[in-house]
Symmetry: C2
Subunit: 500 residues, 2 copies
């Protein structure tokens, strides 16, 4: 191929297409014609030594002049290209990892080497969303064998950065989602680091839920810290609560999660690899995993939770993690707030020992913190929860939390959304059942987690006796459009709460 | 939602993104802000009564002015919108069919109703490529049960147009691809219609191969006929050879095929539904299916071919088609040309009874035409092939072919590509094996089927004794870039032909 003929001048059109790289070229461009490119061809773009792969969008207008080329914002960033720079393009050489994806689609088992090739190409940005979706779908549900999950976890670790904290116990925790609210992590980190253990917590943003720990913490402090900043915070306070993506701990997972979110699916293998690769990348070696079980939680039966527990323990063993998996009640939200700012408010109420603080959130956090303390040699089995209670009720955990926020970049109080709408009981009786998924959906439609203050305040947990007309929960939203849209969904649903 | 606030003026930016609809809105647009839209959100766009769903691309430049909105070319066409028109946008209501796709991903069996909902939404253009890819992947390989394949076939028929030719036998044929060249259809249609049967043949373009019958026929005549034109041609000549997509016979299949092509995968269920839905939609009731079997054909073993045969016969029964499935030799290409124009040249040589015409292509066409004649009451079993030979060798089939081309819009002779490159034998010996897949890949890299004249002329079938330096095949290409790229691939491969 003649390099000269494929050169074009970059012009920024400012088109944002999220993670998938797109390139824009005129239909009558000499390169399109001589190379035989057409719309949605995948082509490789070079800026000096750097190269990326992008989907071609063909331009039939004057927004580009002859000899010009443009890139989507993600591609501009990845290629580090500036207005007026000359860049070149070429055909995409066949990627052998795509044949591994096809093999997986047809039901074959992937080797460790094949999995590594797939993940390496994904991290390099070479997969279109169509291929990411196919890979995720082929691995979804029970689509992966335990050895494939181990390979995927190892490949995710190998393709990301990894923090090393020196020798000694580094603790971590993770909750296998599906339960709205339940924002125990900031409380647990505060207790455990107040005790003196090292807990460098990296959390994800929401995948299919109204909030992830990173979304909630972002209401109160900065979470997108550089690796250097994380090390500094942990060095000073013994812990942190930051966003994992920015630290590039598992870039493969961050790419896959965006497409999983679009599809609104989870897969057991991806889930295990995602969770455990981030633990190892963050440098932890002792980890508590919390699996809530309930009719409308992610795990619906104790059997399914036990299967997941066994698979996680096998992968943990293979990659050298000491894991303790505990199974908890997932029949309803934990805490009152669902959505970043509302959950942040609950966390602060617990840490500040306010009288109206949600007791279920407090007790869940104490249970988990207790289990973590017991992973250390200095706390005997059974003593953990009481030691945790002392650290929380004495205010030590709150002071530690504020110190961590300060170290991460300063503390802000959560704010309230512009619009509130109360949902009232249509009859009197006792609340007997809560549909976690529908509540989560309402919180998402109201704007969570994109709008921090959006979500739900859930006031009547299972067992509450309610009067007709009593407020069951309050929808918070930042725009009328979203509030109306949420109410439209609410009106189309039955049995969000069951009252008998 | 306030309809007024969501109105924007359409400006055409001329961005072509193939089948997936995209919408472009400024990041600071009041609608983006008030509705909480962000990049890659799926939103609904209205132009009067018409509406479509599109992926949002957020614009951070001046290519759109405040209050303006743009759409990709496919979306402009679907929405029938003109420059300066006021259009409105809204949130996408949750599509229940997406939960059926998720159910399929998790390994559940879809009901007929669920399949119908999925296909209806796909035909409406409401699926992003991410969801199309997930649906295709979940159905790939052996992912579908026979009842699901029946449902899929019925749904594809129900969502497309359907031609009715009145009572009587309407014949058709289909070859389950995987074999380069093998362009028997135009010859078969000519013979069968010269005999007097009705054969309204709609063909697809290439999915993963260097040419489909529609691509090849387009070299010689017009194939994108309207339904009215097809009916006129068949009324006059008893047959046609046209492109199925234009006739909207199975719009669902046409959308799915684009993503299957990107993924380069086939699935048994999609394959059966694709083939049989188009047969029914085209109004045929008696159909011959040809399944070539060979090490590097689509079907690699007689067992696999038999399984497919049984599944096809079950679906045929369910939808009221009389099917005869025959299994043929697929060890090497049939005919010499691989690629639209080169295949067209072979077809004409056979129809014109030229002395150098490829005999294997002629005999394969006679076999299939014979089987079709025997589906009619007037031809006894065993007589079909000889009657076909008479029709071909007498020139009646050729005159019929030219009449059909004339009726479809006129006949053109195939042309030759700008560049030829001969691939020579590196040793003397006998050709013992041909890798169909690698030959097909070379033809595709050379530009087929997008460039009509690109492809391969394959000169040395299995059994040929070759000298060192003798030409094995000739690569045809329209650009140096593609030729060089093809040779790069050729040099990286072994055993395209095996000489012993």
């Amino acid at each position: 191929m003649n390099g000269q003929i494929n050169k074009l001048i970059f012009k920024n059109l400012g088109i944002h297409t999220q993670n998938e790289h797109h390139v824009y070229m005129r239909e009558d461009c000499h390169v399109c014609i001589s190379e035989g490119f057409e719309a949605l061809t995948r082509i490789r773009i070079f800026n000096g030594e750097k190269s990326i792969v992008a989907n071609l969008n063909v331009i039939r207008s004057e927004i580009l002049q002859p000899g010009e080329i443009s890139l989507s914002i993600s591609a501009v960033t990845a290629l580090e290209v500036k207005e007026g720079t000359t860049i070149s393009v070429s055909h995409l050489h066949p990627m052998s990892s795509l044949s591994h994806v096809r093999s997986k689609i047809y039901g074959n088992t992937l080797s460790s080497k094949e999995m590594k090739e797939i993940i390496t190409d994904i991290v390099h940005g070479d997969y279109s969303n169509v291929f990411l979706s196919a890979f995720i779908t082929a691995c979804a549900g029970k689509g992966m064998e335990i050895n494939e999950i181990i390979s995927l976890t190892e490949a995710m670790i190998a393709t990301g950065q990894r923090i090393r904290w020196g020798s000694g116990i580094i603790v971590d925790k993770h909750c296998i989602g599906g339960l709205p609210g339940n924002r125990t992590t900031p409380i647990v980190v505060s207790i455990v680091t107040a005790f003196g253990l090292i807990m460098p917590k990296t959390s994800s943003r929401a995948i299919t839920s109204p909030a992830g720990t990173a979304d909630t913490m972002e209401v109160m402090t900065k979470v997108n810290l550089s690796m250097e900043e994380i090390i500094k915070v942990v060095g000073k306070e013994g812990g942190c609560i930051v966003w994992g993506e920015i630290a590039k701990l598992s870039p493969a997972d961050d790419i896959l999660i965006k497409v999983e979110k679009a599809l609104d699916i989870d897969s057991e293998g991806q889930l295990i690899a995602s969770v455990l690769s981030k633990k190892v990348a963050a440098g932890s070696n002792h980890v508590i995993i919390d699996i809530p079980v309930g009719e409308t939680a992610k795990l619906r039966s104790t059997d399914a939770a036990n299967e997941l527990k066994i698979a996680m323990e096998k992968v943990g063993d293979a990659i050298g993690l000491k894991l303790k998996v505990i199974i908890t009640d997932g029949s309803q939200p934990v805490g009152r707030g669902i959505g970043p700012a509302l959950e942040a408010r609950d966390i602060l109420a617990v840490l500040r020992n306010e009288s109206h603080a949600p007791q279920d959130l407090k007790e869940r956090a104490l249970l988990l913190a207790g289990e973590i303390l017991e992973l250390s040699d200095s706390v005997q089995t059974g003593d953990g929860i009481n030691m945790s209670r002392d650290l929380l009720e004495s205010g030590k955990a709150y002071r530690k939390f504020m110190a961590i926020c300060k170290a991460q970049g300063g503390f802000s109080e959560p704010e309230l959304a512009r619009y509130q709408h109360e949902i009232k009981a249509e009859r009197a009786g006792s609340v007997t059942k809560v549909d976690n998924r529908k509540l989560a959906k309402i919180a998402k439609l109201a704007g969570a987690p994109e709008n921090k203050t959006s979500g739900i305040d859930f006031l009547t947990p299972i067992g509450t006796m309610v009067e007709k007309g009593q407020t069951l929960y309050v929808i918070h939203a930042e725009s009328e459009g979203e509030l109306n849209y949420t109410l439209e969904y609410y009106n189309s649903q039955k049995n969000i709460l069951t009252i008998q």
